[in-house]
Every structure is written in C-alpha cells, then in structure tokens.
C-alpha cells in the first residue's frame, strides 16, 4: 500500500543515490487507483458466485420454490445486521473527515467504532450460521448461500484486518492532514465502503428476492 515511498529520494547522502522522483501523469494517486482496480477485480469474483447463483436458481431449479422447502432464512435478524454494517459506512466516513480536518479524536473514534461495528456484524453472521440448521452440503441452496455469504464474510474479515492496522497506527499517533499522509485511512475506507455495498447486494439477492 505505502510502497510509493520508494519513489521518494533516499535520505542517504553518500554515493548511494536513489531513483529520480517519478513524474505524476494523473491527478489520482497510485494507492487510490490501485484499491479501486482491486475492487473491480473483487467485484468480478463476486460476479462468478452470482453467476453460479443465477444458474442454480433459474436454470437448474426453475420451478421449485426458492429457497426450497426446509430452508428458513432469518430475514429480520439479517436485516438488523445489515443496518449495523451500513452504519459502519458512516462511521468510517466520519473517521476520514476527521483525518482530513486534523481532528484526531474523531479519526480515532470513527476507526474504532467502524471496527467494532464490523466485528459485531461478523459475530452475528457466524451466530446465524450456527443456528441456521442447514449446512453447505445441503442441496444447491445450501452451497450457494454459504458460498455467497461466506465469500462476503471473508471480505469483512480482510476489511477488519485493514481497519485493525489503521486503528493501530491511528492510536499510535500516525496519519496527518495532508492527503498523502492519511492514505492508510483512506484506502481501507474505500475498501470498507465496497464491502458494505456488496453486502447490500448479497442481502437483497439471497435473503429478499
């Protein structure tokens, strides 16, 4: 993520000189563009699972009731969980605003709350798995249900890891107000928004439709 620092001239004064600074030929910085492209490829990975969902529901089991009999989904609890995850998009935004404006307290609290909300989401999701009463081995529905929500859960987990790093650095006094000094908040933030939006799509597809 922070690898751009390589382009900055070395601090060493002796003969060991560094590379010249790269000319920046675009307004967007490398890290932001990088995470956006990464998100595109992640969306495609979800696309593969949505394609599978489509085939399992519309092609293999077109006339059956969906979800098939015997598969009950706790729509309401999952709905509350959705609200929890969506609210974390606002807290991360708050953290970012804090970072931009130099309000360190807002940044730290925002990051911490986002992390807690994300962890709560994951906890409720795992709790749901435990109490669902069907497993990934049960029919096509079981497979694709766990496939999609599990894939998303893995992304929440990765997002939480990134947020943990951001938290650690924020609480240890890193990050400044200049744009390039708080990329460590900005980049996980973008990713976290993606995780949220993806969940809304997964929730609507799997639980509601």
């Amino acid at each position: 993520m922070e690898s751009a620092s390589i382009a900055v001239g070395s601090a060493h004064a002796h003969e060991h000189h560094g590379p010249p600074e790269a000319h920046s030929s675009s307004k967007i910085d490398r890290q932001t563009l990088g995470i956006l492209l990464f998100i595109v490829s992640e969306a495609m990975l979800f696309g593969a699972f949505f394609a599978s969902y489509f085939f399992l529901r519309e092609v293999s089991n077109p006339t059956d009731v969906w979800p098939p009999d015997g598969f009950e989904l706790p729509k309401a609890i999952a709905g509350v969980n959705t609200a929890i995850l969506i609210s974390s998009s606002f807290t991360i935004h708050w953290a970012l605003e804090g970072a931009r404006k130099g309000n360190r307290e807002a940044m730290k609290m925002g990051l911490a709350m986002t992390w807690l909300l994300g962890a709560t989401f994951l906890f409720i999701q795992i709790n749901e798995y435990v109490h669902l009463g069907f497993s990934a081995r049960d029919g096509a529905f079981g497979s694709i249900f766990y496939g999609l929500t599990g894939l998303h859960g893995a992304h929440v987990f990765v997002g939480l890891l990134l947020l943990s790093f951001a938290n650690i650095r924020a609480w240890r006094g890193h990050f400044g107000t200049k744009a390039e000094d708080h990329l460590g908040v900005e980049v996980p933030g973008i990713y976290w928004h993606f995780v949220d939006v993806m969940w809304i799509i997964v929730y609507v597809t799997v639980y509601i439709l």
């Binding site: 993520m1 922070e2 690898s3 751009a4 620092s5 390589i6 382009a7 900055v8 070395s10 601090a11 060493h12 000189h17 560094g18 590379p19 010249p20 600074e21 790269a22 000319h23 920046s24 030929s25 675009s26 967007i28 910085d29 490398r30 563009l33 990088g34 492209l37 990464f38 595109v40 490829s41 992640e42 495609m44 990975l45 696309g47 593969a48 699972f49 394609a51 599978s52 085939f55 399992l56 092609v59 293999s60 098939p68 990934a136 081995r137 029919g139 096509a140 529905f141 079981g142 497979s143 694709i144 766990y146 496939g147 943990s164 790093f165 650690i168 609480w171 240890r172 890193h174 460590g184």
Partner: protein, 646 residues
C-alpha cells in the same frame, strides 16, 4: 546460521515453508479433534490435511522470503523507515534469489523462471508425442497420458505464456514510459514469487495418490469434482498463478496511468504499452472468474458442496460458463502483449512508422470489449441454452475484424520498407504474421457452429490452439527475447544460431501442427493416448517434426546462455530504435534514469528528419531541474507526432 534464519532470504523461506505446512496440518488435526471427527481422512472426505497445508506452506514461504516484512512493520504501527534501496537492483547472481523490488531484476526473474516452465511443459509434450508416434499403448498408460496433457497445458498456459509476457513487460515497460520503477515495487516482487509457488503445487500433484491432475487444463466439472487428490493441487495452483497475474495487471495499470514521463500522452505511448494496458484490463476483469470457478470445484471436492452436483440440484454447465468467461478473455491475455511486441519489432526493423498507429490502439481496446462477449463459442456442443449459440457465433466472427485491422496494419508498415531480416527478432515477427493468420482463420472456422460441431474435441481444435499459441504467442515471445536481449544483458546474441533456431522452429512447428488439421477433420479425437490405425502415418510424421521443434529450443538455450556470458558488447541501441528503453545504457542503470526524460514526439518516427521521441537530459550538461513549464504544454498538446494513417 541463526542470522540466515532471522533475515529475509531463501533459508528463512524454507523454514517458513515448513512452519506454514506444519501449521496448516496441525490446524486441521486440531479442529477435527475438537469437533470430534476422525483425525485422518480418506478419499471420500477430500484430504483437508493436505489441502490446507497446500495453502499455508506457500504462504509461509513467502513470509519467510520477506515479501511481507514491510507490511508487517507498517501494520504493527512502527514508524516507516525511509527506503535505503537495499532490496533494489542485482549486484550478483544471488540477488536474483531474493525478494527484490527492482522491476528489471523481477523481469529477469520472471523470464528465466517461466522459460524453465516452458522446458518442463515441452518435455511433457515430447513424452506425449512419443506415446502417440504409433497407435496402441507403448510408453505410458492412458491414465498417465491424461495427467500428461493436463499438466502440459496448465504449465504452458498459467506458468509460461501468461507470466512470461508479464516478465518482458516488467523489464521494458517502466523504461518505455520513463518511470523509475513500477508503481508498487513490493507488490511486484510478491507477484513474481507467487509463480514458483503455483509451479510447486502443479508439480507436487505428481506425488499425490491417484496421479497428477488429469481433467485437462479446462478442469470441467464433474470430471474434476470427482477426480483424485491431484486435482486439488490444480485448483490451488491456479489461485496462486491467478493472484499473481491480477496483482501484476493492477500494477501495470497504475504505472501506466500515473507514472508516464512528461509529454507522454496516451497517443505517444509505444504500442507495447497500449498492449499491456489492454491485457491488464482483461486480467483485472476476467481472472477472478477462474478463481471463483476453481474455488467452487475445490469446495465441491473438499467440503462436499453441491455447486456442480446435478443429483443435489447443482448445475454442471455453469462451470463451463464461469470458466470460459475467464478463459476466452485469457486467450487474448496470451496474445495482446505479443501484438505489442511485434509492433515494436516490425516498426524498428522495417525502419517505418506504424501504419495506422491510433487504429492499432483502438483495435486493442475493441478486442478487450469483444473478448467478454464470445465465451460460449467453446460450448456449442455442451447442451447450453440454444438461443445463445448464434449471438456467440456473430460476436466471434466480429472479433476477427479488429484482429484483421492489426494484421493489415503490420503489412502496411512492412509495405515498401527496407527489411532487415538478418535480425532473428524480425524473422520471428514475420513468421508470426504467417502462422497467426493461419491460426486466426481456423479460429473463424471454429466460430461457425456447423463446422464446430463437426470438429469439436478433435485434433482440429488442437491444431487451432497451437497455431495461435505457438505460432502466435510463442513466436512473439521469441521475437521479444531476441529484440531485448541486448538491452537486458548488454551483450549481443549469435545471429547465425538465432536464424537456425528460427528456421528449425518454423519448420518443426508447421510440420507438427498442419497435419493435425487434416486428421482432426477426419475425426481423430483430442486428449487420447490411443487412436485408430488409419491415423498412424500422420502421427508418426507429427512426432518427428515435434522432435525437431524440441531440439531447436536447445539451440536457443545454448545461444542465450553463452551469449549472456561471452557475447560481444551490444552497445546502447543496436537496433537504432526510438523508444526510451534504448536511450539508456545496456543494461540500464540501477535506477533507470538520473532524471526523468521528456517526451517530445511519437515513438516510431523513423525517417522523419530531426524527429525525436524523448529528450534524456535537458540542455547539454547543465541540468535544468524541477518541473519544466514547457512540459505541461506538451502533455496537453494533443499528440502531434504519432504515426500516419489513423
């Protein structure tokens, strides 16, 4: 000894591999013990105590090698240390076995590693040809033969053709656009080191009970979901190779967008840069689909999900849709970078500007878009939706249009030029034009539903894929190797040996793959160890030519190795090319440039008096530093100087 295990490097990587493997193994054992399951498993339960270490051991290796040291430091909240460039550049051969962030070192690591995989894949192919020399079973039994063609294709595609282009571009692309390195040098190094991991996984499958994976490189379900353990190694290896190529593609895109030298607007980029831009778009958009498909197969195999289990409501054909949604774009991932190489070589060695430069770039983008709309032409006989066939036929035939534009543009460039065909790279470029056109034509034939139904799963398809992959991709790879060899090594290869290599390769290639069209038309099925006696003569001919092809590659290896060590000094710009990588020394300095060059014209203005592509130093001697005001004007000045004909 202890120090060697503490600092990043190969010894620590080995240790990490062991620890990672043991950790994964222990994790499975512990979890199974806790949940009261049998600790060790049989075939019926998918071998988690092999699959999990298959993931954790390579990750342990990467951690040990030092791929994540910087990120761990960052994550723990420690202050970042300013880069001392100690991981940049190679000062002895040992530096090539380290985590190195220099794009030039990584480029060579890629090229050499992938070429080793090419040799391994080639040996597997020769084994197959030996078996096929006569009808009947002589050398390997049909089961082993299935493993041979599967590993051959998987290695060639995922570990040679796709990554070797990433390697060549890694070396030259940052130089070409005037960047000091790639945008994310550490990610770049990580991308490289994931490749050997994929290679180890593919090879390890030979040790698995039941033999190496044998469901073809396509790994169709339900063949793959029911196959022995080796198939899981394929599923895992593809993940590592895929992650590597996505990370590289992302790196290329960010580098091209954000790090071009002042004055290099999009219409002044060399076509190789355009080609890699297009390829990277395809990789970012398509590769996740094969990752998804292989995940699902792995889960069907290892934990008993039903994605592709028809009996439990799964959908078998969905595998093919998801797979080809990656793998058709993948054939362009394997071809577009080659188009870029050929454009550079033809223009330089014909001393002519590219005919229709802008159209060349636009054709690339056209292929990128169309490539996502033709996947089901691989599925005409699969029993998929009948309504999808004709639209897919139409889009497939349409894709020949941008491809044809490129062919005619190369011909236009060659037209009335002074050909320098004593150079081997030009020979390969010309050879490519011939063989790729043949492969393209057989592709268009296959795109037509009735003909495809007739030749589906026959040697005709084998002939097509080898004309486009060998006659197309591999020829351009050699073309690129010869063209940039002097730049990478600072030395000249032996042109005479190069010419022998070319002619033997061309003759071997044509002799091997042309007859396959005929026996395919007559109905010899692909992927078989034995065949009807009537095909015996042609198969013997094919086998003989394929051995000529194999021997030719040894000449290449000899030429490269000896010239690298003892070849005459090449000079900075032996081909008198215009692009920036030729305006620095050979091999280029560790940090590429003292100052970022300034681009003042198109990349191919051969024969235009006074035309320059880039200015390396402003003023002579007295360096003007800082951003020059004139530059901004040049950058927004809407490319005055690209080639004609657009």
């Amino acid at each position: 000894m202890v120090a060697a295990l503490k600092n990043p490097g190969m010894p620590r990587a080995g240790l990490g591999f062991l620890i990672g493997g043991l950790f994964g193994f222990g994790l499975v054992v512990a979890l199974r013990a806790v949940s009261g399951l049998e600790i060790f498993q049989t075939e019926a339960t998918g071998y988690p105590h092999v699959i999990v270490p298959g993931i954790t051991a390579p990750i342990g290796f990467l951690i040990g090698l030092g791929c994540f040291d910087y990120w761990f430091r960052w994550a723990s909240g420690a202050p970042t240390i300013p880069d001392d460039h100690s991981q940049h550049g190679a000062y002895s051969w040992k530096d090539y076995f380290k985590f190195n962030t220099d794009h030039k070192v990584i480029g060579i690591q890629y090229v050499v590693t992938t070429f080793c995989f090419f040799m391994i894949g080639g040996l597997l192919a020769m084994l197959m040809r030996a078996e096929l020399a006569q009808p009947g079973t002589q050398i390997v039994d049909p089961g082993v033969f299935n493993s041979l063609f599967s590993t051959h294709a998987a290695i060639m595609i995922f570990l040679f053709i796709v990554p070797v282009f990433a390697g060549l571009a890694n070396y030259v692309l940052p130089l070409m656009i005037g960047a000091p390195d790639m945008a994310f040098p550490r990610l770049n190094a990580l991308s490289f080191w994931m490749l050997p991991m994929a290679g180890v996984l593919f090879m390890a499958s030979f040790l698995a009970p039941g033999g190496a994976f044998d469901a073809g490189w396509t790994g169709y379900a339900p063949l793959s979901t029911g196959a022995p353990l080796g198939q899981s190694f394929f599923n895992l290896g593809v993940q590592f190779a895929g992650a590597s190529s996505v990370a590289t593609a992302l790196n290329f895109l960010v580098t091209i967008v954000t790090m071009r030298a002042p004055g290099m607007n999009f219409w002044r980029m060399p076509l190789l840069v355009w080609a890699n831009l297009s390829t990277s778009l395809l990789v970012v958009g398509a590769t996740p689909f094969i990752a998804g498909a292989q995940f699902m197969v792995l889960m069907d195999r290892a934990i008993g999900t039903n994605f592709f289990q028809a009996a439990a409501g799964g959908d078998v054909i969905s595998y093919q849709h998801i797979f080809w949604f990656y793998s058709h774009p993948a054939v362009y991932i394997m071809m577009l970078p080659g188009f870029g190489i050929v454009s550079e070589v033809i223009s330089t060695h014909a001393r002519k500007t590219i005919f229709g430069y802008r159209l060349m770039a636009i054709a690339l983008l056209g292929i990128v878009i169309l490539a996502f709309a033709v996947w089901a032409h691989h599925m005409f006989v699969s029993g998929m939706f009948a309504w999808l066939r004709v639209p897919m036929m139409i889009t497939t035939l349409l894709i020949a249009v941008p491809t044809g534009i490129k062919i005619f543009s190369w011909l236009g460039t060659l037209f009335d030029s002074k050909l320098h065909i004593e150079s081997t790279s030009m020979l390969f470029a010309l050879g490519f034009l011939v063989t790729f056109v043949i492969g393209g034509i057989s592709g268009v034939m296959l795109g037509m539903i009735p003909l495809d139904i007739h030749v589906s799963d026959t040697y005709f398809v084998v002939a097509h894929i080898h004309f486009v992959l060998f006659g197309g991709s591999v020829f351009t790879i050699f073309c690129g190797f010869y063209h940039w060899f002097p730049k990478m090594t600072g030395r000249m290869y032996d042109e005479r040996l190069g010419r022998i290599h070319f002619w033997m390769t061309l003759v071997g290639m044509l002799g091997t793959f042309i007859p396959m069209h005929w026996i395919g038309m007559e109905g010899m099925p692909r992927r078989v160890a034995d065949y009807a006696a009537q095909f015996g003569n042609w198969n013997l001919v094919i086998t003989i030519f394929s051995f000529i092809l194999g021997v030719a590659q040894l000449i290449f290896v000899y030429n490269m190795v000896v010239s690298w060590r003892f070849g005459p000094k090449a000079g900075d710009n032996p081909w008198r090319a215009k692009t920036i990588e030729w305006l620095v020394s050979s091999p280029p300095p560790v940090f590429n440039f003292d100052e970022i060059p300034r681009v003042v014209g198109g990349p191919y203005e051969f024969g235009v008096p006074g035309a320059r592509h880039a200015i390396m130093h402003d003023g002579d001697g007295a360096t003007v530093s800082g951003p020059e005001p004139a530059v901004a004007g040049a950058a927004s000045g809407g490319g005055g100087g690209e080639g004609g004909g657009s």
